[in-house]
Amino acid sequence: MKIAVCLKRVPDTTAKIVVGGDGKSIDEAGVKFVPNPYDEYALEAAIALKEKAGAGETVVISVGGDSSQETIRTALAMGIDRGVLIQGAGSADGLEVAKALAAEIGAGGYDLVLFGKLAVDDYNHQVGVMVGELLGLPVISAVSALTVENGAVSAEREIEGGVEVLSCSLPAVVTADKGINTPRLPSLKGIMAAKKKPLESKPTTIGAGGLTLAGLSLPAERQAGRIVGEGPDAVPALVQLLRNEAKVI
């Protein structure tokens, strides 16, 4: 089984985000970057599936700058066999990123292509599904339980008030949600081995796309409200405020 995982380098979710002087990018100074958390689920799924099959190849693919090499090495340290860095500037337009990834993946002869359901920087929630559509492959997105057996995929995804059960056949695209597995941490041995694993770099040009970034801004800070009181005796006053001032009950 040949499996590809698409991986994005993103700011650590606990990082304080400061908008840069241009008003259109974030200030990266002092920000720690990590593999996109949802992509870690995808990496774990790929490694576990290959282990189960006992044979095959796993490949991690990332679109980004030189700094993404470090992120790819983290994936290799977890146990992915080799890496491909597609060098190009990012884009706010998920379709443009999807086109670059589809061009790389289409010729690769993969049985399964895994993504995270969303990248925690742009929150686009779209690239994996788009790659599947561009390649004419079956896509199941935001998967919280996955089984791949005898060329068939069965999966579950959370929907409002229930769980959807889906199936398709390989080759296929799956995007991972929390719940699908628990990603392993790279072992010391894995980190050493990763240094010698192949990492290929190739340039690309990401198109401008149909979304123009007009600017980034910080959301209005919520004003701290008021402490209505202490203990159960404050309840009647709270209920009155919710009813008469906020008008929400």
């Binding site: 974030i26 998920g94 929150y123 229930g162 149909g210 970034l213 980034l216 009181g229």
Partner: protein, 323 residues
């Protein structure tokens, strides 16, 4: 005349509430562009609730009926929308479980860009301009859509459904094109009791580690029941501890909610929790620690022991509802 397509959702033959929000958002775009709104209903057989679409601003209701459209049919729905999509200046989806899967399919098929999960939209200079939270809500991104068909998904509970438009929508049947079904939705496993999803509820009552043990969530369920149409949410700490289902988790690695009223009970207010609820209209915090960070974002707070405050609160709400 330009037209906007609003993609509605049905479950078990009934229109979902979020559909009216989608039509409302589409109407806003249409008014900005001087366009009409077509609401698209995909299903097998009759779908209940479509009579409300005109009132929410749809000029026409398009129905695409197919035996295989009872449950969500990713390939069939996408093919149908793509077959008519290029005729529209904009297509509006909900950023729901279905919309999040369907919108990128349609965008890729049409070769048009997609702005997901938008919380505000307007028309400026004939172009659709949207605002969407990025970096876990820490930053707002403003985008201008310049394609011939602008595709967006709107965050549930953000565009309040407005039924005052008073239109009588014309009914039109849409032909479902030939499509290759690659993915099959086999069933929807529903939980034993129907639960209201935290992303769709008007009121969310969330509990954290302060509840001490799973059985104590009964106190929150009672409050939710007293309030009516309220959902029970949870912090990650209690989901990881196995006290509540993952589907109830609010926050960065859980769901993003924007109800009109959010209760944080025994929740400290970690940044990752705030990421999922800070756009709620009104936030109430109940915590015994007066310095808990949740009070920094709460509109109203009670400092106290939740085991004393909650029963009293449920009681007072019941009294109020009985009036």
């Amino acid at each position: 005349m330009a037209a906007i397509l609003a993609v509605t959702e049905q479950r078990q033959g009934a229109l979902r509430k979020v559909s009216l929000e989608v039509v409302t958002a589409a109407r806003t775009v249409a008014d900005g562009l001087g366009a009409t709104v077509d609401a698209l209903v995909l299903g097998s057989g009759n779908v209940e609730g479509t009579a409300a679409l005109g009132g929410h601003g749809a000029n026409r209701v398009l129905t695409a009926s197919h035996d295989g459209f009872g449950l969500y049919n990713p390939d069939g729905y996408a093919a149908t929308i793509a077959s008519i999509g290029a005729n529209y200046a904009a297509i509006v989806f909900a950023a729901s479980a279905m919309g999040r899967d369907l919108a990128p399919r349609v965008a890729a098929k049409l070769g048009q860009s997609l702005a997901t999960d938008v919380t505000a939209l307007s028309v400026e200079g004939g172009k659709l301009v949207v605002t969407r939270p990025v970096y876990a809500g820490k930053v707002l991104q403003k985008l201008v859509l310049s394609g011939s068909t602008a595709i967006v998904s709107v965050r549930p509970n953000t565009f309040a459904a407005d039924g005052s438009k008073g239109l009588t929508a014309e009914a039109v049947a849409v032909t479902v094109p030939e499509f290759t079904q690659r993915v099959t939705v086999k069933e929807i496993k529903a939980p034993e009791q129907a639960v209201l999803d935290v992303t769709e509820a008007n009121i969310v009552v969330s509990g954290g580690r302060g509840l001490k043990e799973p059985g104590n969530f009964k106190l929150l369920e009672d409050l939710a029941a007293a309030l009516g149409s309220a959902a029970v949410g949870a912090s990650r700490a209690v989901v990881d501890a196995g006290w509540r289902e993952h589907g109830a988790q609010v926050g960065q690695t859980g769901k993003t909610v924007a109800p009109s009223l959010y209760f944080a009970v025994g929740i400290s207010g970690a940044i990752q929790h705030l990421a999922g609820m800070r756009t709620s209209k009104v936030i109430v915090a109940i915590n015994k620690d007066k310095d808990a960070p949740i009070f920094k974002v709460a509109d109203y707070g009670i400092v106290g022991d939740l085991f004393e405050v909650l029963p009293r609160l449920t009681d007072e709400i019941r009294k109020l509802k009985a009036e």
